[in-house]
């Protein structure tokens, strides 16, 4: 497959497309449902009801640039991101669809690497990619490759998570270092010519979350912190529940190298993207035992309590700084840009 490229023929519905689907997707994703190549995947409902009583359904599109970055690529993001969106609802993720929009001229080698990464990520997350779509657009109409994954999962009856449930006195918990993915992407774009060993934290969280819910079914709210960082999730929680979130800066796990990049560029790690981090709101008396349980799981080794929920001012996020003062952590406006001042 030396230097072979995706062409418009691969999206036109003819033999080239069928061969691509068969040799690239069906062979790699390797499951009977996909292999049947019907126009849809069908599942008997009793099978789903084994896992719970509600269907969870989510979709996400992945347009990251560059496609490959330290710690992963767009394929892993596409699987883990959608798995995590299901998991933070308390669902057991089961099946994904995979829709590819490829730019004419995309290298087949690159595509193969991405598809194999998706398979590995799906196996690791124990989900199956059961249906998909393939489109090719003219050169210049897409940035190499866009992927959409839609996922379904099932929520056990006893789970009831909601952004509105946070109460004053509750504890804010996270599962590890923040900002890694944001810095990894910035470095990979190479506009800033920085060298570092920071890698994306992309990982599936449903296994960790299942353990968390088992140890602490009373978790009130759960969300993964992706674009916009933990600051965005906390602002969403604060607004939904009409409370204030008070962060303690000294408790927030942050790698030295992420901190160094932020200091150099004038960025705030609270707003940097993550791809394997969650925020949970937990009743205060249960938080410590939850943290202890999380820390025994590979996806939660550096879990920490990072703040508390306050009554007011409602809809705000505040932070008590390492220095002793308090400041607001506002919602993000536009994209965070490195500053010179």
């Amino acid at each position: 497959m030396q230097d072979q490229r995706v062409t418009l023929a691969h999206g036109s519905g003819g033999k080239a497309m069928r061969d691509l689907i068969q040799n690239m997707f069906v062979r790699t994703f390797d499951n009977a449902t996909l292999g049947a190549l019907e126009d849809q995947a069908i599942f008997p409902l009793p099978e789903l009801l084994r896992y719970g009583n509600r269907l969870a359904f989510t979709t996400d599109s992945y347009v990251v640039h560059p496609l490959f970055f330290p710690g992963g690529n767009i394929g892993e993001l596409a699987v883990n991101g959608t798995v995590n969106d299901l998991a933070v609802g308390g669902a057991r993720p089961l099946y994904l669809s995979c829709s590819m929009v490829m730019e004419e001229g995309l290298s087949m080698d690159v595509l193969a690497q991405v598809v194999h990464s998706m398979k590995r990520a799906a196996d690791h997350a124990r989900v199956t990619i059961v249906t998909g779509d393939t489109k090719v657009v003219e050169r210049g109409s897409a940035d190499k490759l866009f992927i959409n994954t839609t996922g379904i999962g099932v929520v056990p009856e006893e789970i009831s998570l909601s952004a509105q449930r946070a109460q004053p006195g509750d504890t804010i918990v996270t599962n590890g270092f923040i900002g890694d993915h944001g810095v990894a992407i910035l470095l990979a774009r190479n506009e800033l010519a920085l060298e570092s060993n920071v890698e994306s934290d992309t990982q599936p969280l449903h296994d960790l979350i299942a353990k968390m819910l088992e140890v602490c079914p009373a978790i009130r709210s759960l969300r993964d912190a992706t674009r916009g960082g933990i600051a965005t999730v906390l602002n969403e929680f604060a607004t939904a529940a009409g409370v204030s979130m008070l962060l303690h800066e000294s408790s927030i796990p942050l790698k030295d190298s992420v901190r160094g990049a932020c200091e150099l560029l004038g960025l705030d790690p609270l707003y940097l993207a993550n791809e394997g981090k969650l925020i949970a709101i937990v009743p205060p008396d249960l938080a410590q035992s939850l943290i202890t349980a999380m820390q025994t799981h590979p996806a939660g080794e550096h879990s920490a309590i990072i703040g508390t929920v306050q009554e007011s001012p409602p809809g705000t996020v505040l932070m008590s700084t390492t220095f002793g003062g308090t400041r607001m952590v506002d919602t993000l406006t536009g994209e965070q840009l490195p500053r010179i001042c």
Partner: protein, 381 residues
Amino acid sequence: MKFVDDFRDPQKAQVLLQKIQALVKRIELCRHRPVWIMEVCGGHTHTIFRYGLNKMLPEEVEFIHGPGCPVCVLPRGRVDDCIALAERSDVIMTTFGDAMRVTGSKGSLLQARAKGADVRMVYSPLDALQIARDHPNKEIVFLGLGFETTMPSTALTILQAQKEGIKNFSLFCNHITIIPTIRAVLDSPNLQLDAFLGPGHVSMVIGLAPYAFIAQQYGKPMAIAGFEPLDILQSVWMVLTQLAEGRCEVENQYQRVVPPQGNVQALQAIHRVYEGREFFEWRGLGSIDHSGVRIREEFAAFDAERKFQVPDVTIADPSSCQCGEVLTGAIKPNQCNVFGTSCTPEHPLGALMVSTEGACAAYYHYGWIDRNDIQPVNAPA
């Protein structure tokens, strides 16, 4: 992090705050009103708000936020000029990150990029020069912003370009100088100030001597301040001590970085490449004489203004905009009529809302909540 964490030590902060509390009782004017200390530099404004220093200090100490934010004071007409350059198919426009969001009359560079202009963010003018080496068929223009801190970097980049014989690199020069700026603030009729926190990183280039007139002619104590929160608190303590003791000097708090004589190589580079402009417009403040610089004739080949035609139109801010009054410290951001209503970070009317260390953006993002509002519950140790 070395030289950083030491200057963020909360225990030392508490001691300084106690000393400051004691000091203000010894300052006569504090019986009638707060001491007004202007921090000139946008980076200081950012630190003050990021660490909540304004709320930690006693009410007798009030910061007046000065105009030292070069991104904020970039005139709208000059932004339009940048966009005109960026829209040329033969140009790659390169710029620092936060300058991309400043709006002219036709939007910002970020918006121009969305419409197809080749606009690229760089960390350093040297990276822009590298883009010029990598794209010999394009003209690379770098938007040069900043006070004397940044002038050496663009000057040295031009000198490097000249040394290598690079023909497709030029600078769109919007550099401004600090001394005319401070003088304009001091001469501002409605402004009362008691002391200054001086710009630490400008000073590592120009040294201490240029500020002498502030103490000698205008009678205002000054401390050249670093950018960590302890630096700011210590500098506040230093100027308050001067006021309490009836002294009036320019002191150097940032001694670990600022040599009293400045940086010879940096100053040489600046003088070699740049000369003063008689007039230069500041957004919100009008023209400040002799505050701008332009590229000398010898380096005309690297001057985007000489190389290209730009619209070069002066465009006023909307009439509701009160940036000028905030910039000179006459009003606080939240006293501006449009603050938080028609002027927000999403829809900035004036530049102070655009850059993160513009006073208005700092107020908006980091909160103008009252110090008494926060009652932490069960804070973990």
